[in-house]
């Protein structure tokens, strides 16, 4: 580092040979310190996430079982489990149900309802806003064991509140419309996240832009399309990505319908639970988990393409 030399004459300054490099990011972290910031999280993730996740992927290549001979001496079976899954109609049924579940409850249900709520409450303050937000968030933070019980009570054939309100005692929601039931349930459960995210995103849309769109005579829909949507594109991406991922892996439908009746609501997460925990077929369960991972990957890439390419 240079030292101060006899004051104002700049000519006398001694320049150090090569100027020492230091970081030029906003906070002056530098790669080394940035590394130190990331390291604890990455170390935890490496040990408790990446390592066991790779292990799961490996298990998918074995015939490992919870009990029996295959528990003592699991054999490497290559892609047998994957072939079995891909040729098993139950797996495909389950995949199809999962798509319905994700599309219905996450992409349509939570996103649309969450956005609607955020949009409606955007310029409001006071009790109404806090009550609505509070209730929506309550549905999100209550433990799933409790929430599923509430819905079992709500949808019960004979004593359920819903049938009592609608005056149709004996209507078997969970049996005759199992997918609709879990889709509405999951919409109810998860809307809060989208609502909060969009609430924040809408707060970032400059009011002046909306103002000028309104002056230009844009309808509500045109305002959304031309002003709001371009501004919150990134948030939509994050939101879709996370809630799709979570919904794909959501196990709580099991608590409502146990996958039934006759597998009509057996989404993949429930399917894995049945295969891995109830049947103890861990190798096959791990293989299905890996397939879910791949489906999630495809979905993520799809979203990225959809929302990033138009930048």
């Amino acid at each position: 580092m240079a030292q101060v030399t006899s004051p104002p004459e700049p000519a006398e300054v001694v320049s150090p040979a090569p100027a020492r490099r230091y970081s030029s990011d906003a906070a002056g972290l530098g790669r080394l310190r940035a590394g130190a910031f990331v390291a604890p999280a990455l170390a935890l993730i490496a040990v408790f996430l990446v390592f066991p996740a790779l292990w799961v992927i490996y298990l998918g290549l074995t015939n490992y079982r919870l009990t029996g001979v295959a528990a003592a001496e699991p054999q490497f079976v290559g892609l047998d489990n994957f072939v079995k899954a891909l040729t098993d109609p139950e797996f495909w049924d389950s995949t199809w149900l999962t798509f319905q579940f994700v599309l219905g409850s996450a992409v349509i249900g939570q996103v649309v309802l969450g956005f609607t709520l955020a949009w409606m409450l955007k310029d409001r303050r006071g009790t109404l806003k806090s009550v609505v937000e509070g209730l929506v968030i309550l549905a999100w933070i209550l433990p799933s064991a409790v929430v599923s019980f509430l819905w079992v009570a709500l949808l019960d054939r004979d004593a359920g509140t819903l049938n009592a309100l609608l005056g149709i005692p004996g209507f078997a929601w969970l049996l005759d419309y199992p997918m609709l039931s879990i889709i509405i349930f999951n919409t109810w459960r998860g809307t809060a996240f989208s609502m909060m995210l969009y609430g924040a995103a809408l707060g970032n849309v400059p009011p002046s832009h909306l103002e000028s769109a309104r002056l230009a005579g844009a309808s509500g829909w045109q305002q959304l399309r031309d002003v709001v949507f371009p501004h919150i594109r990134g948030h939509i991406l994050t939101n879709l990505l996370l809630i799709s991922l979570w919904t794909f892996n959501d196990f709580s439908p099991f608590l409502l319908t146990a996958g039934g009746p006759d597998g009509k609501s057996e989404v993949l997460a429930v399917h894995v639970y049945k295969v891995a925990l109830q049947n103890g077929d861990l190798g096959y369960g791990a293989a299905i988990s890996t397939v879910i991972l791949l489906i999630n990957l495809v979905v993520a890439v799809f979203y990225l393409r959809l929302l990033r390419s138009k930048k």
Binding site: A43, A46, V47, F51, W55, Y58, T62, Y64, R65, L66, T67, G68, V69, A71, A72, E73, P74, F76, V152, R157, A172, L174, L175, L256, T257, A258, G260, P261, D262, G263, L277, Q278, N279, G280
Partner: protein
């Protein structure tokens, strides 16, 4: 083998992270003090609370006392659980696989085969020594019940108890329908006739025989298997599995007659909480006939603490043996049939004190312990005939099952693949309840079975 390599990596990862090991309660320690743990799927204030209380409040102090009298310093700790059987089994398997878990453990009789194959449990003779073979309690345990604890000719555990299945019926509804209060059907047709009469007298659900996958093993044990036995079939016999045999077709045929003929409620079979609901409906007088185990009497309609109490249980609820399809057509040529299950208790192969653990195990099945355990309305059928004679005296149903039903009963095959076969059976009943013809469902079952048991070669012709 596969897992060994990884443990090295894991250890490296651990040391790299510098994670401090957190204390793990283990047995032993210095000196002569011996620490034992005993675990059951029971918990104070929750599932099987009475059993948990019995262990904590009676077995442990008494056992420690008895050991002290022998000059041994033994302390015992109870490790409660209290969750779904599948979850309990999962955790137990993981524990046993890793050499963890309590010294004395409870398992369902049906898990014996798969646990033994995985090396999770060991023959008591090898693990403990000759005293396990020569335990004096064996003489009191009937051969069939001993079979529960036996795998490939070796005893892996001590039986904790057994049970039996009968047909329960509502005498009030029967009287209204003009049926006798001491009903005992002698063929399936008589059951159907009674159901038809109940129906015409306005009973909403004349008969409930569990079907479908939602009820899980309850469909198999309180449905398919007793009926199959009544039709003269066994799910597995002499190493061969029963496929789409006549007995299977007859069994599914009965389902078809019940659920296709409006005698049962097919919807109820699909509900996630269908079994609870059936109990509730029986208690409310909406179900005429119900095939269930003795648990139904003890734990469901028990006027004292049942989940669907019936204050007038002793007057209203009747019971009858399950008939064969026709007299003499049941398994072993029987007129009546039943199915039984039961829990086992054994010593964890990873224990540091196999001898003491076995002593604790045997102590829990001593006459005194069993009598204590079954006191105050907790009566159940114990594995010991000497104890049963005493404790079942005031219990007409349990005496009935113990004396009339157990001699007729059969057990499930204790092999690893059984749970999956059971699911296939449940699916077959679900199909029939949903309208598929019985023969078709039987054929589908056989196809599925071939995939599970390793080809048609393992299925009886």
């Amino acid at each position: 083998m596969v897992l060994r390599k990884r443990s090295v990596v894991a250890v490296l990862a651990a040391s790299a992270l510098g994670l401090a090991g957190c204390g793990q309660s283990s047995g032993g320690g210095g000196g002569d003090a011996i620490e034992l743990t005993i675990s059951q799927n029971a918990i104070a204030g929750g599932k099987n609370a009475a059993a948990a209380d019995h262990i904590a409040n009676w077995v442990i102090p008494k056992f420690e006392e008895a050991q002290k009298a022998k000059g041994k310093d033994v302390t015992v700790k109870f490790v409660p659980s209290g969750v779904d059987d599948e979850q309990y089994k999962t955790k137990l398997s993981l524990d046993l696989k890793s050499g963890k878990g309590a010294d004395v453990i409870d398992i369902d009789g049906i898990w014996a085969g798969e646990f033994a194959e995985a090396g999770y449990i060991k023959p008591l003779g090898e693990l403990v020594g000759p005293e396990a073979e020569s335990w004096d309690g064996w003489q009191q345990i009937p051969e069939a019940v001993q079979g529960l604890a036996t795998f490939e000719g070796k005893k892996y555990a001590l039986p904790v108890g057994t049970d039996g299945r009968v047909l329960y019926f509502n005498k009030t509804l029967f009287t209204k329908a003009g049926l006798p209060a001491d009903w005992q059907p002698k063929s399936w047709q008589e059951i159907l006739d009674a159901a038809a009469k109940l129906k015409s007298s306005g009973v909403p659900v004349p008969i409930q025989i569990n079907a479908g996958t939602a009820m899980g093993e309850a469909t198999t044990m309180q449905g398919v298997l007793p009926l199959l036995a009544g039709a003269g079939g066994e799910v597995q016999k002499d190493g061969k599995w029963t496929g789409a045999s006549q007995a299977m077709k007859d069994t599914l045929g009965l389902y078809q007659k019940i659920y296709g003929g409006g005698l049962g409620d097919p919807k109820l079979q699909q509900e996630a909480k269908g079994r609870d609901k059936a109990f509730q409906q029986f208690a409310e007088g909406k179900i005429g006939i119900l095939l269930e185990g003795d648990y139904f009497w003890r734990g469901v309609v028990n006027p004292k603490d049942g989940v669907a109490k019936m204050d007038d249980r002793d007057q209203v609820v009747g019971y009858a043996k399950i008939p064969a399809i026709e007299p003499g057509k049941g398994i072993r040529g029987q007129d009546f049939v039943s199915m039984s299950g039961g829990a086992l208790r054994t010593v964890n192969p990873a224990t540091k004190h196999p001898k003491e653990a076995f002593e604790l195990l045997a102590f829990t099945l001593s006459p005194e312990a069993l009598k204590e355990e079954t006191k105050d309305g907790n009566v159940r059928i114990t594995p010991r005939t000497d104890v049963n004679k005493e404790i079942l005296a005031g219990e007409p149903l349990l005496t009935y099952i113990s004396e009339e039903v157990l001699p007729l009963t059969a057990y499930r095959p204790p092999v690893a693949v059984y749970p999956q076969v059971s699911v296939a059976l449940q699916e077959a009943t679900a199909a029939v309840a949903g309208g598929t013809p019985a023969d078709q469902a039987a054929a589908d079952y056989q196809k599925k079975l071939e995939g599970l048991v390793g080809g048609a070669g393992n299925i009886a012709a």
